[in-house]
C-alpha cells in the first residue's frame, strides 16, 4: 500500500458523505496529493481499487483538472494569474520579472526543483490585480517588490 492509513481513513470518511462513493473521487485525489504532492501511478491504482473503477478512469479525471498532478512537483508552486483583468494591470510584466529573478521561463521550475513558476487562468481576484497564488495561498495587489519578498520568504 502506498497511500497512508491516515489518508485512507480520511478518504473513507469522505466516501460516507456521498450518496455514491464515486462522488468522493475528487476529494480523495486532493487528499492523496496533499500527502505526496502528486498522484503517482501507484496511488492511482490504489485509488481505483478503493473506488472500484479502473486506473485509466482515475487518470482521465486526474488529467482533466489543472490542480492535479501525475508527476512529482517542485516544492513551491507560484502561479501568476495572467487572465485579462490581471494582464490589464501588469500581471505579465510581473511574471517576466519573476522569471528573470528566478532565472527560468514560465512554466518551469528552478534547477534545484525548489520553485515552480507558472501562469494561471482567472483566480477570482480581478479587483485586486495583479496577484499570484503561492502554495495555494492568494497574494493580491502585488508589485514586483512585494512579489519578490514573498518568494524570498519561501522555505527551502
Amino acid at each position: 500500500m502506498v497511500i497512508s492509513k491516515q489518508t485512507r481513513s480520511k478518504i473513507d470518511a469522505v466516501i460516507a458523505k456521498y450518496p455514491q462513493a464515486r462522488g468522493a473521487l475528487l476529494p480523495a485525489l486532493h487528499l492523496v496529493q496533499d500527502e505526496y504532492g502528486h498522484v503517482s501511478k501507484e496511488c492511482a491504482v490504489e485509488i481505483a481499487e478503493i473506488f472500484e473503477i479502473r486506473p485509466v478512469e482515475v487518470m482521465e479525471v486526474l488529467t482533466f483538472y489543472n490542480l492535479f498532478f501525475d508527476s512529482p512537483q517542485a516544492k513551491h508552486h507560484v502561479y501568476v494569474c495572467t487572465n485579462l483583468p490581471c494582464s490589464l494591470r501588469g500581471a505579465r510584466g510581473l511574471l517576466r520579472q519573476l522569471e528573470s529573478q528566478l532565472g527560468i521561463k514560465a512554466p518551469g521550475e528552478t534547477s534545484d526543483g525548489r520553485i515552480f513558476l507558472g501562469h494561471e487562468e482567472c483566480l477570482g481576484a480581478c479587483g485586486y490585480a495583479p496577484m499570484m497564488r503561492v502554495d495555494g495561498q492568494y497574494h493580491e495587489v502585488l508589485d514586483i517588490e512585494k512579489a519578490k519578498r514573498i518568494l524570498d520568504s519561501l522555505g527551502e
Binding site: 479525471v61 487572465n83 485579462l84 490589464l88 482567472c122 477570482g124 479587483g127 495561498q137
Partner: protein, 431 residues
Amino acid sequence: MLETPYVTNYLTEHFGEEDYPTIEGYERVGGYRAARKALTEMSPDEVIELVKIAGLQGRGGAGFSTGMKWSFMPKDTDRPKYLVCNADESEPGSFKDRILLERGSHQMLEGILIAAWATGASTTFIYIRGEYAYPADQMERAIGEAYAKGYLGENVMGTGFRHDVRVTRGAGAYICGEETGLLESLEGKKGQPRKKPPFPAQYGAFGMPTTVNNVETFSHVPHIVEKGANWFRSFGTEKSPGTTVFGVSGHVVRPGLYELPLGTMLSEIVFEHAGGVPGGRKVKGVIPGGMSMSILPAGQLDVPMANEFLHERKTMLGTGGIIVMDETTCMVRVASVISYFFRDESCGQCTQCREGTGWINKIVDRIERGAGEEEDLEVLLDVAGKMEGQTICAFADAAAWPIQGLLRHFSDDFAEHVRQRKCPFAESFEL
C-alpha cells in the same frame, strides 16, 4: 481578509463587521430569522411563489428565474432531491462569490435552507472551485456552526425538517461552472457537460432531481423572505429586480466590488463608483458581465446594467464582472488573452468547441505577431459563427461572443495589425 465592497446594500451591508461570518455575528443582525419564518410559517409552495413574484433571477450568468427553476423540481417523488450551490466562480472578471462565501457564509446557508424547504431537498452540495481554499474552509466552519445550533441536520430549527450540507472542492476547470459539468465533477468524473434533456430537475446530481443555484442567488433569498417581494422589487428594474454585486477590474482607479441595483448605468459604475480610468486616459471598451460577454465600446456605456437593456447591445449582464480597458489597450491582445483562456478551458467534447477555440487562438496570435492577412478577420468571424449555438453546452457560445464583439467594435485594431504587419499599440498591456 478580503476588502469589503466600496458600495454596499442589503447583501453586503455587514461584510465589514468582523464577527459577521460567525453564526453569532450573523444572528446578531437578524440572521436566520427568514429561514425560521419560511420553515414555520410558510409552505414550500408559498416560498416558491414569493421568490417568483419577487422576480429573482439567477446571478450565475444565465439570469433564469429562480422561482421557476425551483418549481421544476418534482413534488411527488420518493427519490431524494438535491440542491447544488454553484460556487465554482471562474468567469474572468468575476470575484463576487468569493466574498459572499467568505463574509456572507451564513447568509448563503440561510438562503440554502429556505431553498431546501421550498424544493424538498434533503442535501445541498456546495461545489467550490479548488483554488478557493479559504472560502471552502470558511464555509466548512459556518456549516459546523449551523449544525451545532441545530440549523442543519435531522431536525432543522426543531421543525422536523432534515437538511444536510456538504462542501466539495473542485480541482481547476472552468467548465465545472456549467451546471451539468459541475454535476459530473461532483459525481467524481471529468467535468464534461451533459446533453440536455434530461434537465437537472429530473436527472441531476447522482441521478436525482436537482436544482443548481449560484452563490449570490441563494444569498438574496433570506432578504426576500424576510422583507417581501415588493421590498425586493424596490431595487433594480421592472424586469431585473434586486441588487447585484458588480466586480470592477482592469483600468479603473478603484477596482473592487460594488453592490448596486440592477439597472445602474454602466457609465455610472465605471466613472463614478470606480473612479474612471487613471492617469486621465480615456476608456476604449468595457466588458460588462464577465469575459464571455461581448465588449461595449466607449460610446455605448450609457446602458443600464440589466439584461433587457444589454441584450439590445448584443451583450449580457452575465456575472456582473466589469472589465475596463483604456485607450492604450490593444484589442487583438485582448482577443489573444480571451481566446487562450477558452482554448485552455474547453472540455474537449464537441468538435466546434475543441477545434474552434484552438483555431481562433492561433489566428489571433498570428495577427498580433504581425503575420495576419485580411481574410483572417473573415475566418475568425466565420469560425466564431460556427461555434455558436451548436454544442452541448454554452461554453462555445461564450468563447465565440467576445471574439465577435471585439471584431464588431474594434475591427480597426485587427485591420491595423494586418496593414502594419505588427502591433501598433506600443503602450498596450504586455502580452
